[in-house]
Protein backbone atom coordinates (compact mmCIF):
# COMPACT_ATOMS: atom_id res chain seq x y z
CA UNK A 1 0.00 0.00 0.00
CA UNK A 2 1.37 3.35 -0.95
CA UNK A 3 -1.17 5.83 0.31
CA UNK A 4 0.15 9.22 1.36
CA UNK A 5 -1.06 11.39 4.17
CA UNK A 6 -0.12 14.99 4.90
CA UNK A 7 -1.34 16.15 8.25
CA UNK A 8 -1.07 19.82 9.29
CA UNK A 9 2.29 20.25 7.60
CA UNK A 10 3.87 23.64 8.19
CA UNK A 11 7.14 24.74 6.69
CA UNK A 12 9.23 27.85 7.15
CA UNK A 13 11.76 28.68 4.46
CA UNK A 14 14.90 30.23 5.90
CA UNK A 15 17.02 31.91 3.24
CA UNK A 16 20.76 32.18 3.99
CA UNK A 17 20.29 35.96 4.17
CA UNK A 18 17.05 37.72 5.00
CA UNK A 19 13.95 36.96 6.97
CA UNK A 20 12.35 33.51 7.34
CA UNK A 21 9.25 33.07 5.18
CA UNK A 22 6.27 30.92 6.10
CA UNK A 23 5.98 28.77 2.96
CA UNK A 24 3.33 26.25 3.99
CA UNK A 25 0.64 26.73 6.58
CA UNK A 26 -1.17 23.67 7.86
CA UNK A 27 -1.47 21.51 4.77
CA UNK A 28 -3.55 18.37 5.15
CA UNK A 29 -4.16 16.03 2.24
CA UNK A 30 -4.69 12.32 1.73
CA UNK A 31 -3.69 10.55 -1.46
CA UNK A 32 -5.00 7.05 -2.07
CA UNK A 33 -2.92 4.16 -3.32
CA UNK A 34 -2.57 4.38 -7.13
CA UNK A 35 -4.27 7.73 -7.26
CA UNK A 36 -2.98 10.52 -9.51
CA UNK A 37 -3.15 13.83 -7.64
CA UNK A 38 -2.01 17.15 -9.07
CA UNK A 39 -0.89 20.02 -6.85
CA UNK A 40 -1.91 23.18 -8.65
CA UNK A 41 -1.12 26.72 -7.62
CA UNK A 42 0.54 30.01 -8.51
CA UNK A 43 4.34 30.12 -8.53
CA UNK A 44 5.81 30.54 -5.07
CA UNK A 45 2.84 28.92 -3.31
CA UNK A 46 4.98 26.16 -1.85
CA UNK A 47 3.71 23.28 -3.99
CA UNK A 48 7.23 22.14 -4.89
CA UNK A 49 8.27 22.50 -1.24
CA UNK A 50 5.43 20.17 -0.30
CA UNK A 51 6.74 17.65 -2.84
CA UNK A 52 10.33 17.92 -1.54
CA UNK A 53 9.06 17.33 2.01
CA UNK A 54 7.27 14.21 0.78
CA UNK A 55 10.43 13.15 -1.05
CA UNK A 56 12.37 13.47 2.20
CA UNK A 57 14.83 15.96 0.71
CA UNK A 58 13.98 18.60 3.29
CA UNK A 59 13.06 17.67 6.85
CA UNK A 60 9.49 17.94 8.11
CA UNK A 61 9.56 20.45 10.95
CA UNK A 62 5.94 20.62 11.95
CA UNK A 63 3.05 18.27 11.27
CA UNK A 64 3.48 14.80 9.77
CA UNK A 65 3.82 13.11 6.39
CA UNK A 66 3.32 9.37 6.20
CA UNK A 67 3.69 6.95 3.31
CA UNK A 68 1.95 3.63 3.75
CA UNK A 69 1.47 4.58 7.39
CA UNK A 70 5.18 5.17 8.04
CA UNK A 71 6.49 8.68 8.66
CA UNK A 72 8.80 10.08 5.98
CA UNK A 73 12.38 10.19 7.19
CA UNK A 74 14.75 11.05 4.34
CA UNK A 75 14.66 9.98 0.69
CA UNK A 76 13.67 6.44 -0.17
CA UNK A 77 13.57 4.23 -3.23
CA UNK A 78 9.80 3.70 -2.92
CA UNK A 79 9.40 7.41 -3.77
CA UNK A 80 10.89 8.16 -7.18
CA UNK A 81 11.16 11.75 -8.33
CA UNK A 82 11.31 13.56 -11.68
CA UNK A 83 12.37 17.20 -11.77
CA UNK A 84 11.61 19.98 -14.23
CA UNK A 85 15.28 20.42 -15.15
CA UNK A 86 15.72 16.64 -15.65
CA UNK A 87 18.66 16.45 -13.18
CA UNK A 88 20.35 13.71 -15.23
CA UNK A 89 23.96 12.73 -14.60
CA UNK A 90 25.58 14.47 -17.58
CA UNK A 91 28.72 12.30 -17.54
CA UNK A 92 26.67 9.14 -17.93
CA UNK A 93 25.08 7.91 -21.14
CA UNK A 94 21.34 7.27 -21.40
CA UNK A 95 21.96 3.62 -20.55
CA UNK A 96 24.26 4.42 -17.61
CA UNK A 97 21.78 6.95 -16.21
CA UNK A 98 19.00 4.35 -16.20
CA UNK A 99 21.35 1.66 -14.82
CA UNK A 100 22.50 3.76 -11.87
CA UNK A 101 19.59 3.06 -9.51
CA UNK A 102 19.66 -0.64 -10.40
CA UNK A 103 23.37 -0.82 -9.56
CA UNK A 104 22.62 0.81 -6.21
CA UNK A 105 19.97 -1.86 -5.61
CA UNK A 106 22.59 -4.53 -6.22
CA UNK A 107 20.64 -6.12 -9.05
CA UNK A 108 22.49 -8.81 -11.03
CA UNK A 109 24.19 -7.56 -14.20
CA UNK A 110 22.20 -9.59 -16.73
CA UNK A 111 18.94 -8.63 -15.10
CA UNK A 112 19.68 -4.92 -14.89
CA UNK A 113 20.89 -4.79 -18.50
CA UNK A 114 17.62 -6.34 -19.56
CA UNK A 115 15.52 -4.02 -17.40
CA UNK A 116 17.39 -1.03 -18.82
CA UNK A 117 16.78 -2.17 -22.38
CA UNK A 118 13.06 -2.61 -21.63
CA UNK A 119 12.89 0.90 -20.20
CA UNK A 120 14.76 2.40 -23.16
CA UNK A 121 12.08 0.87 -25.38
CA UNK A 122 9.27 1.95 -23.07
CA UNK A 123 10.28 5.61 -23.35
CA UNK A 124 11.09 5.34 -27.09
CA UNK A 125 14.82 5.99 -26.89
CA UNK A 126 16.05 2.97 -28.81
CA UNK A 127 19.16 3.98 -30.74
CA UNK A 128 20.10 6.64 -28.20
CA UNK A 129 21.36 4.30 -25.46
CA UNK A 130 24.94 5.50 -25.80
CA UNK A 131 24.18 9.20 -26.21
CA UNK A 132 25.02 11.68 -23.50
CA UNK A 133 22.25 13.92 -22.10
CA UNK A 134 23.86 16.99 -23.70
CA UNK A 135 23.21 15.42 -27.11
CA UNK A 136 19.47 15.01 -26.50
CA UNK A 137 16.48 17.33 -26.85
CA UNK A 138 14.50 18.45 -23.79
CA UNK A 139 11.74 15.90 -24.36
CA UNK A 140 14.26 13.07 -24.73
CA UNK A 141 16.09 14.14 -21.58
CA UNK A 142 12.86 14.05 -19.62
CA UNK A 143 12.10 10.58 -20.98
CA UNK A 144 15.51 9.44 -19.71
CA UNK A 145 14.76 10.96 -16.32
CA UNK A 146 11.41 9.16 -16.19
CA UNK A 147 13.01 5.87 -17.22
CA UNK A 148 15.76 6.29 -14.62
CA UNK A 149 13.13 6.83 -11.93
CA UNK A 150 10.86 4.00 -13.10
CA UNK A 151 13.83 1.60 -13.23
CA UNK A 152 13.90 1.10 -9.48
CA UNK A 153 10.12 0.46 -9.52
CA UNK A 154 9.00 3.04 -6.98
CA UNK A 155 5.47 2.69 -5.66
CA UNK A 156 5.09 6.44 -5.70
CA UNK A 157 6.07 8.84 -8.45
CA UNK A 158 6.75 12.44 -7.48
CA UNK A 159 6.77 14.84 -10.42
CA UNK A 160 7.92 18.42 -10.03
CA UNK A 161 6.60 20.34 -13.06
CA UNK A 162 8.22 17.64 -15.20
CA UNK A 163 7.01 19.02 -18.53
CA UNK A 164 7.36 22.71 -17.67
CA UNK A 165 10.54 23.14 -19.69
CA UNK A 166 9.17 21.51 -22.86
CA UNK A 167 7.43 23.06 -25.85
CA UNK A 168 3.66 22.60 -26.18
CA UNK A 169 3.84 19.82 -28.79
CA UNK A 170 6.39 17.78 -26.88
CA UNK A 171 4.43 18.32 -23.70
CA UNK A 172 1.26 16.88 -25.27
CA UNK A 173 3.21 13.82 -26.45
CA UNK A 174 4.70 13.36 -23.01
CA UNK A 175 1.22 13.50 -21.44
CA UNK A 176 0.13 10.59 -23.61
CA UNK A 177 3.29 8.63 -22.84
CA UNK A 178 2.94 9.19 -19.11
CA UNK A 179 -0.68 8.04 -19.14
CA UNK A 180 0.27 4.98 -21.20
CA UNK A 181 3.05 4.10 -18.75
CA UNK A 182 0.67 4.51 -15.82
CA UNK A 183 -1.87 2.23 -17.46
CA UNK A 184 0.78 -0.48 -17.82
CA UNK A 185 2.10 -0.13 -14.28
CA UNK A 186 -0.21 1.97 -12.11
CA UNK A 187 1.43 4.01 -9.37
CA UNK A 188 0.54 6.64 -6.85
CA UNK A 189 1.47 9.96 -8.45
CA UNK A 190 1.84 13.41 -6.93
CA UNK A 191 2.26 15.87 -9.80
CA UNK A 192 3.15 19.51 -9.24
CA UNK A 193 2.12 21.95 -11.96
CA UNK A 194 0.85 25.45 -12.59
CA UNK A 195 -0.78 24.39 -15.86
CA UNK A 196 -4.53 24.00 -15.28
CA UNK A 197 -5.25 21.99 -18.43
CA UNK A 198 -2.36 19.65 -17.73
CA UNK A 199 -3.68 19.05 -14.21
CA UNK A 200 -7.20 18.27 -15.39
CA UNK A 201 -5.99 16.10 -18.23
CA UNK A 202 -3.69 13.92 -16.16
CA UNK A 203 -4.98 13.81 -12.60
CA UNK A 204 -7.78 11.99 -10.79
CA UNK A 205 -7.97 14.84 -8.30
CA UNK A 206 -6.51 18.34 -8.31
CA UNK A 207 -5.56 20.05 -5.05
CA UNK A 208 -5.54 23.81 -5.56
CA UNK A 209 -3.13 25.64 -3.33
CA UNK A 210 -3.47 29.18 -2.08
CA UNK A 211 -0.86 31.90 -2.52
CA UNK A 212 1.90 31.95 0.10
CA UNK A 213 1.67 30.79 2.79
CA UNK A 214 0.41 27.71 0.95
CA UNK A 215 -2.71 25.88 2.07
CA UNK A 216 -5.03 23.50 0.25
CA UNK A 217 -7.77 25.78 -0.94
CA UNK A 218 -9.98 23.26 -2.67
CA UNK A 219 -9.80 19.72 -3.94
CA UNK A 220 -11.50 19.12 -7.28
CA UNK A 221 -12.40 15.71 -8.62
CA UNK A 222 -11.15 15.53 -12.19
CA UNK A 223 -11.81 11.89 -12.98
CA UNK A 224 -13.74 12.40 -16.18
CA UNK A 225 -16.63 10.25 -17.31
CA UNK A 226 -15.80 10.71 -20.97
CA UNK A 227 -13.86 7.92 -22.64
CA UNK A 228 -12.41 10.32 -25.17
CA UNK A 229 -8.64 10.80 -25.26
CA UNK A 230 -6.23 13.37 -26.61
CA UNK A 231 -7.61 16.22 -28.71
CA UNK A 232 -11.13 14.86 -28.46
CA UNK A 233 -11.16 14.98 -24.70
CA UNK A 234 -9.93 18.56 -24.73
CA UNK A 235 -13.06 19.51 -26.69
CA UNK A 236 -15.55 17.97 -24.24
CA UNK A 237 -17.80 20.12 -22.10
CA UNK A 238 -16.89 18.12 -19.00
CA UNK A 239 -13.16 18.82 -19.45
CA UNK A 240 -13.62 22.50 -20.12
CA UNK A 241 -15.97 23.03 -17.18
CA UNK A 242 -13.35 21.60 -14.84
CA UNK A 243 -10.66 23.75 -16.44
CA UNK A 244 -12.79 26.90 -16.10
CA UNK A 245 -13.57 26.19 -12.48
CA UNK A 246 -9.94 25.51 -11.57
CA UNK A 247 -8.69 28.42 -13.65
CA UNK A 248 -10.86 30.84 -11.61
CA UNK A 249 -9.54 29.42 -8.35
CA UNK A 250 -5.91 29.69 -9.49
CA UNK A 251 -6.38 33.15 -10.97
CA UNK A 252 -7.73 34.52 -7.68
CA UNK A 253 -4.66 33.17 -5.91
CA UNK A 254 -2.28 34.44 -8.55
CA UNK A 255 -3.75 37.92 -8.18
CA UNK A 256 -3.46 37.69 -4.41
CA UNK A 257 0.12 36.54 -4.75
CA UNK A 258 0.92 39.56 -6.90
CA UNK A 259 -0.80 41.90 -4.49
CA UNK A 260 1.28 40.49 -1.65
CA UNK A 261 4.49 41.33 -3.49
CA UNK A 262 3.60 44.96 -4.03
Amino acid sequence: MAGISFSEVRHTYRPPRGKPVLALESVSLDVQDREFVALLGPSGCGKSTLLYLLGGFIPVESGAITVGGKPVNGPGRERGIVFQNFALFPWKTVRQNILYGLEKQGMAKVEREKRTQDLVELVHLKGFEDSYPSQLSGGMKQRVAIARTLAVEPEILLMDEPFGALDAQTRALMHEELLAIMRRAPKTVVFVTHDVREAVYLADRVAVMSARPGRIKEIVDTKLKSNARGEELLQTREFNDRVDHLWKLVRDEAIRAQGAHE
Binding site: G56, F57, P75, R77, A87, W91, G101, Y132, S134
Partner: protein
Protein backbone atom coordinates in the same frame (compact mmCIF):
# COMPACT_ATOMS: atom_id res chain seq x y z
CA UNK B 1 31.10 35.31 -41.45
CA UNK B 2 33.32 32.36 -40.57
CA UNK B 3 30.33 30.66 -38.99
CA UNK B 4 28.45 30.55 -42.28
CA UNK B 5 31.22 28.83 -44.24
CA UNK B 6 31.26 25.13 -44.93
CA UNK B 7 33.33 23.26 -42.31
CA UNK B 8 36.22 22.23 -44.61
CA UNK B 9 36.82 25.75 -45.90
CA UNK B 10 36.43 27.18 -42.43
CA UNK B 11 38.98 24.76 -41.04
CA UNK B 12 41.58 25.57 -43.72
CA UNK B 13 41.05 29.29 -43.16
CA UNK B 14 41.61 28.87 -39.42
CA UNK B 15 44.78 26.87 -40.08
CA UNK B 16 46.00 29.62 -42.41
CA UNK B 17 45.33 32.23 -39.73
CA UNK B 18 47.24 30.21 -37.12
CA UNK B 19 50.26 29.72 -39.37
CA UNK B 20 49.95 33.35 -40.45
CA UNK B 21 50.31 34.63 -36.90
CA UNK B 22 53.59 32.71 -36.58
CA UNK B 23 54.92 34.01 -39.91
CA UNK B 24 53.95 37.57 -38.97
CA UNK B 25 55.69 37.29 -35.59
CA UNK B 26 58.96 35.89 -36.91
CA UNK B 27 58.82 38.27 -39.88
CA UNK B 28 58.54 41.27 -37.56
CA UNK B 29 61.39 39.91 -35.45
CA UNK B 30 63.57 39.43 -38.53
CA UNK B 31 62.78 42.91 -39.93
CA UNK B 32 63.57 44.54 -36.58
CA UNK B 33 66.83 42.62 -36.39
CA UNK B 34 67.75 43.65 -39.95
CA UNK B 35 66.91 47.30 -39.28
CA UNK B 36 69.73 47.40 -36.68
CA UNK B 37 67.66 49.37 -34.19
CA UNK B 38 69.18 46.95 -31.71
CA UNK B 39 72.66 45.58 -32.09
CA UNK B 40 73.12 42.03 -33.29
CA UNK B 41 74.06 41.14 -29.72
CA UNK B 42 70.83 42.51 -28.20
CA UNK B 43 68.60 41.04 -30.90
CA UNK B 44 70.09 38.25 -32.98
CA UNK B 45 68.37 37.51 -36.29
CA UNK B 46 65.92 34.61 -36.71
CA UNK B 47 68.29 32.40 -38.78
CA UNK B 48 71.06 32.79 -36.19
CA UNK B 49 68.72 31.73 -33.38
CA UNK B 50 67.24 28.92 -35.48
CA UNK B 51 70.71 27.64 -36.29
CA UNK B 52 71.64 27.72 -32.62
CA UNK B 53 68.42 25.90 -31.70
CA UNK B 54 69.26 23.22 -34.29
CA UNK B 55 72.80 22.95 -33.01
CA UNK B 56 71.68 22.46 -29.39
CA UNK B 57 69.04 19.99 -30.51
CA UNK B 58 71.58 17.87 -32.39
CA UNK B 59 74.10 18.04 -29.56
CA UNK B 60 71.45 16.85 -27.10
CA UNK B 61 71.83 19.83 -24.74
CA UNK B 62 68.39 21.14 -25.58
CA UNK B 63 66.68 17.80 -25.07
CA UNK B 64 68.34 17.16 -21.72
CA UNK B 65 67.39 20.71 -20.61
CA UNK B 66 63.78 20.22 -21.65
CA UNK B 67 63.58 16.80 -19.99
CA UNK B 68 65.02 18.08 -16.72
CA UNK B 69 62.67 21.07 -16.66
CA UNK B 70 59.66 18.91 -17.50
CA UNK B 71 60.49 16.34 -14.82
CA UNK B 72 60.59 19.02 -12.13
CA UNK B 73 57.51 20.73 -13.52
CA UNK B 74 55.48 17.53 -13.67
CA UNK B 75 56.45 16.28 -10.21
CA UNK B 76 55.57 19.65 -8.69
CA UNK B 77 52.37 19.82 -10.76
CA UNK B 78 51.37 16.29 -9.74
CA UNK B 79 51.81 17.17 -6.06
CA UNK B 80 49.72 20.30 -6.60
CA UNK B 81 47.03 18.38 -8.49
CA UNK B 82 46.63 15.61 -5.91
CA UNK B 83 46.99 17.92 -2.90
CA UNK B 84 44.79 20.63 -4.44
CA UNK B 85 41.94 18.27 -5.29
CA UNK B 86 42.01 16.62 -1.85
CA UNK B 87 42.15 19.98 -0.10
CA UNK B 88 39.55 21.65 -2.34
CA UNK B 89 37.06 18.80 -1.95
CA UNK B 90 37.65 18.66 1.81
CA UNK B 91 37.12 22.40 2.12
CA UNK B 92 33.84 22.12 0.24
CA UNK B 93 32.55 19.18 2.24
CA UNK B 94 33.99 19.44 5.78
CA UNK B 95 32.99 22.62 7.68
CA UNK B 96 35.96 22.41 10.06
CA UNK B 97 38.43 22.20 7.18
CA UNK B 98 36.66 25.11 5.46
CA UNK B 99 36.82 27.20 8.63
CA UNK B 100 40.57 26.64 8.86
CA UNK B 101 41.60 26.92 5.21
CA UNK B 102 39.22 29.58 3.88
CA UNK B 103 41.32 32.56 5.12
CA UNK B 104 44.59 30.81 4.24
CA UNK B 105 43.50 30.17 0.66
CA UNK B 106 42.18 33.73 0.31
CA UNK B 107 45.52 35.09 1.50
CA UNK B 108 47.64 32.65 -0.48
CA UNK B 109 45.85 32.88 -3.83
CA UNK B 110 46.80 36.47 -4.76
CA UNK B 111 50.23 36.28 -3.11
CA UNK B 112 53.29 36.06 -5.39
CA UNK B 113 54.49 32.64 -4.29
CA UNK B 114 57.98 33.19 -5.75
CA UNK B 115 58.46 35.69 -2.93
CA UNK B 116 59.03 32.61 -0.77
CA UNK B 117 61.94 31.51 -2.95
CA UNK B 118 64.73 32.66 -0.60
CA UNK B 119 63.04 30.93 2.32
CA UNK B 120 62.53 27.74 0.33
CA UNK B 121 66.24 27.84 -0.57
CA UNK B 122 67.16 28.09 3.10
CA UNK B 123 64.75 25.37 4.15
CA UNK B 124 65.07 22.89 1.33
CA UNK B 125 68.42 23.70 -0.27
CA UNK B 126 69.10 24.74 -3.85
CA UNK B 127 68.59 21.37 -5.54
CA UNK B 128 65.52 19.58 -6.89
CA UNK B 129 63.55 19.42 -3.63
CA UNK B 130 63.20 23.17 -3.22
CA UNK B 131 62.36 23.70 -6.91
CA UNK B 132 59.71 21.00 -6.93
CA UNK B 133 58.17 22.22 -3.67
CA UNK B 134 58.15 25.79 -4.99
CA UNK B 135 56.38 24.60 -8.15
CA UNK B 136 53.81 22.66 -6.10
CA UNK B 137 53.23 25.57 -3.72
CA UNK B 138 52.74 28.03 -6.58
CA UNK B 139 50.41 25.91 -8.69
CA UNK B 140 48.27 24.35 -5.96
CA UNK B 141 46.05 27.40 -5.40
CA UNK B 142 44.05 27.39 -8.65
CA UNK B 143 43.48 23.64 -8.20
CA UNK B 144 42.18 24.15 -4.65
CA UNK B 145 39.90 26.99 -5.68
CA UNK B 146 38.36 25.20 -8.67
CA UNK B 147 37.97 21.84 -6.87
CA UNK B 148 36.34 23.69 -3.98
CA UNK B 149 33.92 25.63 -6.18
CA UNK B 150 33.18 22.58 -8.33
CA UNK B 151 32.23 20.28 -5.47
CA UNK B 152 30.47 23.04 -3.54
CA UNK B 153 28.03 23.99 -6.29
CA UNK B 154 26.63 20.62 -7.30
CA UNK B 155 23.11 20.88 -8.65
CA UNK B 156 20.66 20.32 -5.80
CA UNK B 157 18.27 18.35 -7.98
CA UNK B 158 20.99 16.04 -9.24
CA UNK B 159 22.03 15.39 -5.64
CA UNK B 160 18.45 14.62 -4.68
CA UNK B 161 18.00 12.32 -7.67
CA UNK B 162 21.08 10.36 -6.64
CA UNK B 163 19.84 10.17 -3.06
CA UNK B 164 16.44 8.87 -4.05
CA UNK B 165 18.13 6.25 -6.26
CA UNK B 166 19.95 5.01 -3.17
CA UNK B 167 23.46 6.50 -3.09
CA UNK B 168 25.03 6.73 0.37
CA UNK B 169 27.17 9.54 1.73
CA UNK B 170 30.51 7.85 1.09
CA UNK B 171 29.76 6.72 -2.46
CA UNK B 172 28.21 10.11 -3.25
CA UNK B 173 31.64 11.75 -3.30
CA UNK B 174 33.07 9.27 -5.82
CA UNK B 175 30.01 8.60 -7.93
CA UNK B 176 28.36 12.03 -8.09
CA UNK B 177 30.36 14.92 -6.61
CA UNK B 178 33.71 14.28 -8.31
CA UNK B 179 32.42 13.50 -11.81
CA UNK B 180 30.07 16.49 -11.59
CA UNK B 181 32.98 18.72 -10.57
CA UNK B 182 35.37 17.32 -13.19
CA UNK B 183 35.00 20.14 -15.76
CA UNK B 184 35.83 22.72 -13.13
CA UNK B 185 38.61 20.65 -11.55
CA UNK B 186 40.17 20.30 -14.98
CA UNK B 187 39.98 24.06 -15.49
CA UNK B 188 42.01 24.38 -12.29
CA UNK B 189 44.62 21.97 -13.66
CA UNK B 190 44.73 23.88 -16.94
CA UNK B 191 45.49 27.08 -15.05
CA UNK B 192 48.02 25.33 -12.79
CA UNK B 193 50.21 23.66 -15.43
CA UNK B 194 51.56 26.85 -17.09
CA UNK B 195 52.15 28.30 -13.62
CA UNK B 196 54.15 25.18 -12.74
CA UNK B 197 56.30 25.57 -15.85
CA UNK B 198 56.88 29.29 -15.26
CA UNK B 199 57.82 28.85 -11.61
CA UNK B 200 60.15 25.93 -12.32
CA UNK B 201 62.03 27.97 -14.95
CA UNK B 202 62.23 30.98 -12.62
CA UNK B 203 63.61 28.67 -9.89
CA UNK B 204 66.20 27.28 -12.31
CA UNK B 205 67.20 30.81 -13.26
CA UNK B 206 67.57 31.79 -9.60
CA UNK B 207 69.16 28.63 -8.20
CA UNK B 208 70.83 27.11 -11.24
CA UNK B 209 70.78 23.34 -11.62
CA UNK B 210 70.46 23.24 -15.40
CA UNK B 211 67.11 22.73 -17.08
CA UNK B 212 65.96 25.37 -19.57
CA UNK B 213 66.04 28.16 -17.00
CA UNK B 214 69.52 27.18 -15.87
CA UNK B 215 70.77 27.07 -19.45
CA UNK B 216 69.47 30.60 -20.14
CA UNK B 217 71.44 31.90 -17.16
CA UNK B 218 74.58 30.03 -18.20
CA UNK B 219 74.36 31.42 -21.75
CA UNK B 220 73.77 34.90 -20.34
CA UNK B 221 76.86 34.72 -18.17
CA UNK B 222 78.88 33.78 -21.25
CA UNK B 223 77.29 36.71 -23.13
CA UNK B 224 75.93 34.15 -25.59
CA UNK B 225 72.85 36.00 -26.82
CA UNK B 226 71.78 33.52 -29.57
CA UNK B 227 71.78 30.84 -26.85
CA UNK B 228 69.52 32.94 -24.60
CA UNK B 229 67.12 33.58 -27.45
CA UNK B 230 67.18 29.95 -28.54
CA UNK B 231 66.08 28.88 -25.06
CA UNK B 232 63.36 31.55 -24.97
CA UNK B 233 61.97 30.11 -28.22
CA UNK B 234 62.30 26.58 -26.85
CA UNK B 235 60.40 27.53 -23.67
CA UNK B 236 57.65 29.08 -25.77
CA UNK B 237 57.31 25.91 -27.84
CA UNK B 238 57.32 23.63 -24.79
CA UNK B 239 54.69 25.84 -23.12
CA UNK B 240 52.51 25.80 -26.20
CA UNK B 241 52.72 22.02 -26.48
CA UNK B 242 51.72 21.64 -22.81
CA UNK B 243 48.74 23.99 -23.15
CA UNK B 244 47.53 22.26 -26.32
CA UNK B 245 48.01 18.82 -24.75
CA UNK B 246 45.80 19.89 -21.85
CA UNK B 247 43.12 21.13 -24.26
CA UNK B 248 43.14 17.83 -26.13
CA UNK B 249 43.00 15.84 -22.89
CA UNK B 250 40.08 17.99 -21.78
CA UNK B 251 38.15 17.26 -24.95
CA UNK B 252 38.81 13.53 -24.60
CA UNK B 253 37.96 13.43 -20.92
CA UNK B 254 34.86 15.62 -21.09
CA UNK B 255 33.31 14.02 -24.14
CA UNK B 256 29.96 14.20 -22.36
CA UNK B 257 30.19 17.88 -21.55
CA UNK B 258 28.09 20.60 -23.17
CA UNK B 259 31.17 22.50 -24.39
CA UNK B 260 32.41 19.45 -26.29
CA UNK B 261 29.07 19.00 -28.03
CA UNK B 262 28.86 22.57 -29.28
CA UNK B 263 32.51 22.96 -30.28
Amino acid sequence: MAGMMEPARRESLLTALRVGSGILFFGAWQLTAMSHVFSEFLLPSVPVVAERLWHDLVSGDLVSGIVLTLIRTFIGFALAAVGGIILGVSIARVPLVRWFFDPLVSAGLPMPKVAFLPIFMLWFGVFDTSKILMVAFSSIFPVIVEAWAGTQNIDKYMTWSAMSLGVNRHRFLWEIALPAALPQVFTGLQVALPIALIVDIVCEMQMGGEGMGGSIMTDMRFADSPGVFAYIVAIAIVGMVLVKAMEITRRRLLLWHQETQTA
